[in-house]
């Protein structure tokens, strides 16, 4: 193989791999504070880029991306508050989230399409509001807040289905993409003979910023340290006056936010479709496990490894099977070294499941 082609493969592998790493870090952040694997992690990327794509049609790109990330962060918080925390009190956030979720059904299914827009809206509100209130009552009265692993797995799977379906109904099944951040589809930069799109540099740059930023956050800020303390020992953390519940919400917000950002920078390259979240999630999980669940440095290394491996695999095996590579790696790692390549301290934690 010629050296510039090899370089080409490596670069495209690193690009893809850095996205996997971001997804894996998203898994890790939530896993560290809660012990939950959030099966809906991939959906955050898709949601972020979908929102950005819609906003970019009338806003400057940078602003669209910024708002999309903030919005997704809020969605992350809302999802945690509604579905994970299981509050037994009346919660405005939950009512609003539920209302919006239900509102979509009559609105997007065109139940009242014959009416003028305003009437349509009013009818939908009239339908959604009492239902949301009813469900809120159910929450107040009946929600069970014991957390066992099987239950959490199923809830986050449910969330991922729900997000996917909401995205299908809000947007549709078409492939969409954000415009290239600099240049366009055909512009390319020559790096030692390998031609790459400038967007690749954006992906690499943003990923690096996310990784470094998170590291600094966890090492040097009080909140970051508090979150780490939760991962170490929840009871001890709460005795130290750390509000563990809000740390959990915060962890969902951060993973949603970085997920959305990653989704936006890759959108021009990979395009965005409502149902790509689950593939991303399983690859991200493979990377998270490969790097040692909870270990974010490990996730970066593992992500890059998987990306490069996939890039080279394209040259030797049918395209259709590529998707399976990461899963085979995941299975192999799970069987032989579930603590991952770089995680040994986590090994003990495995037993708690």
């Amino acid at each position: 193989m010629e050296s510039n082609i090899v370089l080409q493969y490596i670069l495209s592998g690193i690009t893809q791999g850095s996205i996997y790493a971001i997804v894996a870090i998203g898994f890790n952040i939530i896993y560290n504070t809660t012990g939950i694997i959030n099966f809906a992690q991939g959906e955050f990327l898709v949601l972020g880029s979908m929102i950005a794509i819609s906003l970019a049609s009338f806003l400057p790109l940078a602003l669209a991306v910024l708002i999309a990330c903030l919005a997704t962060t809020l969605v992350g918080a809302a999802l945690e508050l509604v579905f994970i925390r299981g509050l037994k009190k009346w919660s405005p956030v939950r009512v609003v989230t539920l209302f919006l979720l239900i509102f979509i059904i009559p609105f997007r299914s065109g139940l009242f399409d014959g009416f003028p827009f305003l009437a349509n809206m009013v009818f939908c509100v009239l339908i959604a509001a009492p239902i949301a209130a009813g469900i809120e009552f159910l929450f107040k009265r009946f929600v069970k807040s014991t957390s066992n692993v099987l239950r959490m797995i199923i809830i986050t799977i449910g969330i991922s289905i729900l997000m996917r379906e909401v995205m299908l109904h809000v947007w549709d099944e078409k492939n969409r993409a954000l415009p290239f951040f600099t240049g366009n589809e055909v512009s390319s930069i020559d790096i030692f003979g390998a031609m790459i799109s400038p967007q690749v540099l954006w992906v690499l740059g943003v990923s690096a910023v996310i990784v470094v930023g998170l590291n600094l956050f966890f090492k040097f800020t009080l909140i970051g340290k508090a979150m780490l303390a939760c991962s170490d020992n929840k009871t001890a953390a709460s005795l130290c006056g750390i509000n563990v519940k809000w740390m959990v919400t915060l962890s969902f917000m951060i993973s949603a936010g970085i997920g959305a950002l990653a989704g936006c920078v890759t959108s021009p390259l990979t395009q965005t479709q409502y149902n790509m979240g689950s593939t991303l999630a399983i690859k991200g999980f493979a990377v998270a496990v490969l790097g040692g669940l909870g270990n974010s440095t490990g996730a970066v290394v593992a992500g890059l490894m998987l990306g490069v491996l996939e890039a080279f695999a394209i040259s030797i095996m049918p395209n259709a099977y590529i998707e399976a590579i990461s899963i085979v790696i995941l299975l192999v790692i799970l069987f032989f070294k579930p603590s991952g390549l770089f995680g040994s301290a986590e090994a003990s934690r495995l037993k708690e499941f």
């Binding site: 199923i154 809830i155 289905i161 049918p318 899963i327």
Partner: protein, 361 residues
Amino acid sequence: MLARYKPLLIVLGIVVLIQLLLSLGGWEFFFTQLIMSAYYSLVVIGLTLLMGYAGQISLGHAGFFAIGGYTSALLTTIDLSGLWDKGTLSLLSSLFITMEQKDPYGNIIYSFSPWVAFVVAILIAVGVAFLIGIPVLRLKGHYLAMATLGFGIIIQTVLLGTTALGAADGISNVPDFTLVPGIQITDRMADRVMNYYIAWFFVLLGLFLIINLLNSRVGRALRSIHGNEEAANSLGINTSRYKLYTFVLSAVLAAAGGVFLTHYLGSIGPSEAGVIKSVRYVAIVAVGGMDNLFGTLLMGNLLNFLSLRGYFGTFDEAVFGIILIGIMLFAPKGILRIKGIKYLSSFIREKLAVFKREKEK
């Protein structure tokens, strides 16, 4: 001793009742969906055994369903004329190993007979279940969930990427399955009622086996594993072996469902192996109450029937997502154990008992 089979009789009674109702009422078009959901029930009851009683989650059971369906579809549509000469083929046909049939263009071809295909499909499912189960069942919690999910995705990826298996189109023109002469799995309108009973016969057979298992030494061992694996182990129960056997059994039931449904519909596509399908099975088991065989049977058929009739419209997947979350948040023990329903059923039971007592007087 026969008390354990009483629920089977009740199920049979309901099945017959529904048939009479539909036939007399002229709603025969419902049979198609009832037959399909019966075959899906085979997956569901197997998964109930695995999840509810042995306590192991699987997000990959659609994979086994597809393994069954695809194996049988491939073997019964493959043209063997190139492999053996005509004499051998007609000899094999008289031994019921191969079968003569017309391909879509009207040419005569020889393929394996459905029974052979069925046996091969089950054997492959058993083999794959062992192969996957031995390493996977060492895992717990999220790891087990992700590993089984991965298994399902691999199956679907392979199906989508292999042209011999029809890639995205799947395999169609799968012949009818003649179980014994005169009784065949087919979607012919005239044989709808018969097929309804065939399908439910297989479900009852599956239930019969599982009830036997649950009421035995092995069933107790399984439930004890769910209760406390370490304690079960210290009583001499080889927990990993029992988990494995249960996994294999549930895989066999799923594969059998796949074989039958494929022959019934005459085709199978890669979506049958999809993650969505696997998640759906898990949702049904959760709604039914995990360790409640008849609860999952009831809810499974209800949901599958509604879904197959298209009553959920474009919100089909969303409905299952909502069900998953709702059940886990509000009624982790299944919908049939929600207080209101429990009161209602105990109320009915009480009244019945009173009624019985008075009758005896």
